[in-house]
């Protein structure tokens, strides 16, 4: 056998084990109850245990060498991943404070930059266009009641 271990199976298995352990161990801090009258901890504890077992099974399968070409994780678009995560978090953090217009504009700008095909000028243009479009759709058409400019700014509406 000259196959490779499947990194993807091992990683997937570990993710499931981690979630299973996290849910099961947290469940222990809640009242478990009895099967007759289950407490809030019973159901998640049982499922967390099952998830750990499934995760171990998946990871175990990954250690068995196979000759298939599958099992490699492949490349990751790090720039896109980081920019998109930051953009979404930024929106959540600032939409109340800065208001809808600035939060949308910055989120759109960061997201647009996630593509290697978009330069800074193009990103600015996309952000401006998208912000206007969103205001038309969400504020004018759908009457979303959110301050356009929030209390963190010196001029609030």
């Amino acid at each position: 056998m000259n196959g490779k271990r499947a990194v993807t199976d091992i990683l997937a298995g570990l993710i499931f084990v981690a979630f299973g352990v996290a849910f099961a161990s947290t469940s222990l801090t809640y009242e478990l109850g009895t099967p007759l009258r289950m407490g809030p901890g019973y159901f998640p504890l049982a499922l967390g245990g099952i998830l750990v077992l499934l995760g171990l099974g998946i990871a175990g399968k990954g250690f068995i060498p196979s000759s298939g070409a599958e099992g490699r994780f492949g490349s990751v678009p790090w720039r896109a991943l980081i920019l998109i995560v930051v953009a979404v978090l930024f929106f959540g953090l600032t939409v109340r404070g800065l208001g809808l217009v600035p939060a949308t504009a910055v989120t759109a700008l960061l997201t647009a930059l996630a593509s290697y095909r978009t330069g800074i000028l193009a990103a600015l243009a996309i952000a401006a266009g998208l912000t206007m479009l969103c205001m038309l759709i969400f504020v004018l058409a759908l009457q979303l009641r959110l301050p356009l400019f929030g209390p963190w700014l010196p001029f609030s509406f």
Binding site: M38, G39, P44, P77, I84, V85, V88, V95, A114
Partner: protein
């Protein structure tokens, strides 16, 4: 005739100008996202769910349903013209459809897809109208034990019919159910897994989960390889199929309609499986199997009819049992809940206008789709020239604003980022996101009915196998799991999905 009365009531509702308008918006949006590779109906419906809050229930559901089956039409256009499935079920259509386009017969291929879909959609709407009421009546007698077994069946059957590793799909379901337990416990009010964050007491929002796993994760996948999507589309001419084409289409369309209607009802199967199954059936039955893969019109008409029929009948378990067959239906549950309606057997008696209006609107929508798709094909093709690097920022920004507007909770926005990254990593590891979303939506139902059934039975766990309906459902569920695990059948399943590609 009760059926005719009901359909008349439905048409009366569906043909109100306002509802026709929302149906039109739905199918136009659906066609658009179907045409565009990289955005599917799941992400679109998730993004638009928050918007439907301000609409009337009937209008909201008609529009969202329109997006779903509209995407089946749009997906075939991209598949035929540029050999890229705009929507997952159109992958099969691309095989022969694109070959036809290369031979200068794109027009007949598009027409075959649209006409087949229209016929299948019409029949499936009637199937839905005939079978939904008796099923709903039966479901009304279900107690918690039956519901628990039904949900177990739904979840396990979705694995048996889905593609990929059974073990991974099971783990995704369990993870989904666990994520569904976040928030206050229904019986004791104890906040679970919220880590002191008050905003999470109401639980994670399924819009965040769906937008993250299906929208953001998909965008990251697409950004891995940013080669220019050069779209060279020749002008489509000679839209009409020849008499010979039409003659060859009839039998495949009829068979596919039956096949699609049946498979659409099954959990997890739905339109993708129906399309694949129809293709292999037609190839096997054809007198000219050698033409398949080289532009056989049967290979376009069959799968396209099948996926559209399945798209309609997959509403049956949703409307009668409150059980979603796949992620889009899980989002439809969300749409019902946003409108304050609990999906399930009661909808048909308590909201007859909504129930029949939604069904009738599917037929109206299919008429609109044929009218939109064939004459306006040039317009849809032009949409393919919108560059992806303009499209995906719009998806992210819409998702963020839309999700925030549901309850103005910033944690629902943070969750998009979390599930986007988690979904991306899991998809790269070969775990399909659909079972997780199904588990997430059905998890609370599973726990509630389990606990209630055990309280009623005074802690006797045999209640699930001693009550006859529950026992039958459990047997089916175990059967589904065995089917998914058995190596011989597993291999067959892989064959159905992969042989033709």
């Amino acid at each position: 005739m009760e059926l005719l009365d009901n359909l008349a009531l439905g048409l009366g509702t569906a043909l109100q100008p306002q509802n026709v308008l929302y149906c039109l918006i739905g199918v136009v949006l659906g066609t658009a996202v179907g045409v565009l590779p990289g955005i599917g109906p799941t992400a679109t419906i998730a993004m638009l769910l928050p918007i439907t809050f301000s609409l009337e229930p009937v209008a909201a559901l008609i529009m969202l349903a329109g997006i779903y089956y509209g995407a089946q039409y749009g997906g075939s256009t991209t598949a035929i013209l540029i050999n890229l499935p705009g929507e997952s079920s159109a992958a099969v259509t691309a095989i022969d459809g694109h070959e036809m386009a290369l031979k200068g017969r794109a027009g007949p291929a598009l027409a075959a897809a649209a006409l087949g879909s229209f016929f299948a959609g019409t029949v499936a709407t009637v199937v839905l109208a005939v079978f939904a009421p008796p099923l709903a009546r039966a479901a009304l007698r279900f107690g918690p034990a039956e519901y628990f077994s039904l949900v177990v069946l739904g979840l396990l059957a979705s694995i048996a019919l889905a593609r990929g590793s059974t073990l991974k799909a099971l783990a995704m379901i369990v993870l989904g159910v666990l994520l569904g337990t976040v928030g206050q416990d229904i019986y004791t009010g104890t906040p679970r897994f919220v880590f002191g964050v008050r905003e999470l007491y109401g639980g994670l929002n399924f819009v965040s989960v769906a937008v993250g796993m299906f929208g953001v994760a998909e965008i990251l996948r697409n950004l891995e390889d940013e080669r220019a999507r050069t779209v060279v589309v020749e002008k489509v001419k000679n839209l009409w199929p020849t008499r010979e084409d039409l003659r060859r289409m009839v039998a495949p369309v009829l068979r596919a309609t039956g096949l699609g209607s049946a498979l659409g009802v099954l959990p997890g199967g739905g339109h993708v499986l129906a399309a694949f199954a129809s293709y292999s059936v037609e190839k096997r039955l054809s007198k000219r199997p050698e033409e398949f893969g080289h532009g056989a019109i049967e290979g376009v008409a069959g799968p396209e009819s099948a996926n559209n029929a399945a798209a309609q009948t997959s509403f049956i378990p949703l409307l009668t049992l409150g059980l979603p067959a796949h992620p889009v239906m899980a989002l439809m549950i969300g749409a019902f809940i946003i409108q304050g309606i609990t999906p399930g057997p009661n909808v048909i008696t308590e909201q007859p206008a909504l129930f029949w209006g939604l069904i009738a609107s599917m037929w109206v929508g299919n008429v609109l789709l044929v009218m939109l798709n064939l004459p306006l094909i040039g317009l849809w093709v032009r949409m393919l020239t919108i560059p992806y690097h303009i499209l995906f920022p719009a998806i992210i920004v819409f998702a963020a604003i839309g999700t925030f507007s549901l309850g103005f909770n910033p944690w629902h926005v943070y969750a998009i980022a979390f599930f986007g990254v988690l979904g991306y990593v899991l998809i790269k590891c070969g775990c399909e996101p659909a079972p997780l979303l199904l588990g997430f939506v059905l998890g609370p139902l599973l726990e509630e009915n389990l606990r209630r059934a055990l309280i009623i039975s005074r802690g006797d766990p045999t209640v699930f196998v001693t009550r006859p309906i529950s026992a039958a459902l459990m047997t089916l569920a175990i059967g589904a799991l065995i089917l998914a695990v058995l190596p011989a059948i597993r291999r067959r399943r892989e064959v159905v999905f992969q042989e033709e590609l």
